[in-house]
């Protein structure tokens, strides 16, 4: 079996996390390291206390060994998230957040909560955001037809969440539209 059953319908959240962790993030290193060539690019040199940009997975690795501090991205702050939450709850459209914010914020809250300002507040804001957006995407199911649905500003994790239902629903709609005669006779 080349691909296990659960992986056939969709990608999994850990896989999305793997993809998201290729993005770069700023750190303040606590060790020095020469410039090194990795497969994804050359990173370094690390010279404490100068900031450096490395992939998130590398930062997480170093952070767990207490070899760096992570500089959280601008959007992972109480002020930014609060303003987005206000937009989210007052406007009908999805507010504009980084495409992989859910994965990245989870990773950073898990391993680097001591580098964040007020992690508890951030956590609860993220949760509120998620719930507000979830309600909207559920509402979006009403607009689903057989041909197209635009989803501006929807994020990677949210898409993955609605994927099974939306794809199934759209497939059913397609089948109904394509075979109208059979449904008419079936209705009688």
């Amino acid at each position: 079996m080349a691909l296990p059953q659960p992986l056939r319908v969709s990608v999994t959240p850990p896989e999305l996390e793997l993809v998201a962790c290729q993005q770069l993030i700023e750190i303040v290193p606590l060790i020095s390291m020469e410039k090194t060539a990795f497969i994804s690019g050359a990173y370094g040199p690390l010279r404490p206390p100068h900031k450096a940009k490395i992939p998130i997975w590398m930062a997480v690795n170093l952070k767990l060994k207490k070899k760096c501090h992570i500089v959280p991205p601008e959007w992972l702050s109480v002020d930014f998230l609060q303003s987005k939450l206000t937009l989210e709850t007052t406007q009908p459209a999805f507010s504009d957040l980084p495409f992989r914010f859910a994965e990245i914020s989870k990773v950073l809250l898990d391993v680097a909560s001591d580098d964040l300002d007020n992690p508890e507040k951030i956590r609860s804001l993220l949760k509120d955001l998620r719930e507000a957006r979830q309600a909207k995407s559920r509402d979006g199911l009403k607009q689903l037809d057989h041909s197209e649905l635009s989803l501006p500003n929807l994020c990677s994790m949210e898409i993955n969440e609605i994927r099974p239902v939306f794809i199934q629903a759209m497939s059913v709609l397609t089948r109904i539209v394509r075979n109208p005669i059979r449904t008419e006779t079936g209705g009688l």
């Binding site: 969709s10 990608v11 090194t36 990795f38 590398m58 989803l151 794809i167």
Partner: protein, 250 residues
């Protein structure tokens, strides 16, 4: 320490090896797509070039979401595998050296972690293709169009797989059925065909990587996706855009 040299060499396409970034400047070179590609160039130049790993990640995700088999990326994959092998060799060499310092150990550990991550992506990509090859084996065996998108090894595997399953079905069941029902490729009405084909109407989530030429939706409307646009549409409407790397599946 020769990682740095190797990386530079790789970036500049190292000797006779074709540059890995060629792909991006002239995606696919598919006849019909050329006009749009040239038009879209300004959008492309603003961005930094995708690294080979980012390209593979994108193709991996596309492959996972697309109902059909996408064109094989043999050159990209073999370049990455080469790079993986060289990184592993460098790590082996340094690990065997007793004079490597504590600081070096962290470097080695990070390089090794990356090797494992890349291997995971490569494996998952190849396995996804293998799954589709086996699922659509009989369809591949009779369709030239889809064979063009496979590597030689994938094609051989598909044809062999189709032959063996045919043989098995024949020996275990079909030979004892009446003549009229003893074939795998008859097409009785009201019954789906027995050759599994990709379901091209399955909806997919697309993300436009740049301004796309207009596509026609099943209800007759036309949609012109701007860069960054996210949409849920049947795969058949965006299949060419996926092949021309104008959109990615998410």
């Amino acid at each position: 320490m020769d990682w740095d040299d190797e990386f530079d060499q790789l970036r500049h396409g190292g000797g006779s090896r074709p540059s890995m970034f060629d792909d991006d400047e002239n995606p696919m070179g598919v006849g019909a797509g050329m006009g749009e590609v040239r038009m879209a160039e300004p959008y492309f130049e603003e961005e930094r070039e995708e690294t080979p790993l980012e390209q593979l990640t994108r193709h991996w995700m596309n492959e996972r979401h697309a109902p059909d088999i996408l064109p094989a990326r043999e050159e990209l994959l073999s370049n990455l595998l080469d790079h993986l092998r060289r990184q592993s060799e460098a790590v082996q060499l340094l690990r065997g050296d007793p004079s490597t310092s504590e600081e070096e150990h962290i470097r080695i550990m990070l390089v090794q972690t990356e090797i494992e991550r890349v291997k995971f992506i490569v494996r998952s990509y190849v396995r996804t293709r293998l799954f589709k090859v086996e699922k659509f084996a009989r369809h591949i065996a009779i369709s030239d169009d889809i064979q063009k998108r496979l590597t030689a090894a994938e094609r051989d595997h598909a044809i062999r797989h189709a032959r063996i399953t045919d043989q098995h079905f024949y020996l275990s069941v079909l030979q004892s059925l009446p003549e009229a029902q003893s074939h795998l490729d008859d097409t009785p009405i009201f019954v789906p065909p027995m050759v599994t084909e990709p379901d091209m109407s399955r909806p997919v989530f697309v993300h436009a990587l740049r301004q796309c030429p207009p596509i026609t939706l099943p209800d007759g409307a036309s949609l012109e996706m701007k860069k960054g646009h996210i949409s849920l549409v049947p795969y058949s409407t965006v299949a060419t855009l996926v092949e021309n790397e104008q959109v990615e599946l998410i």
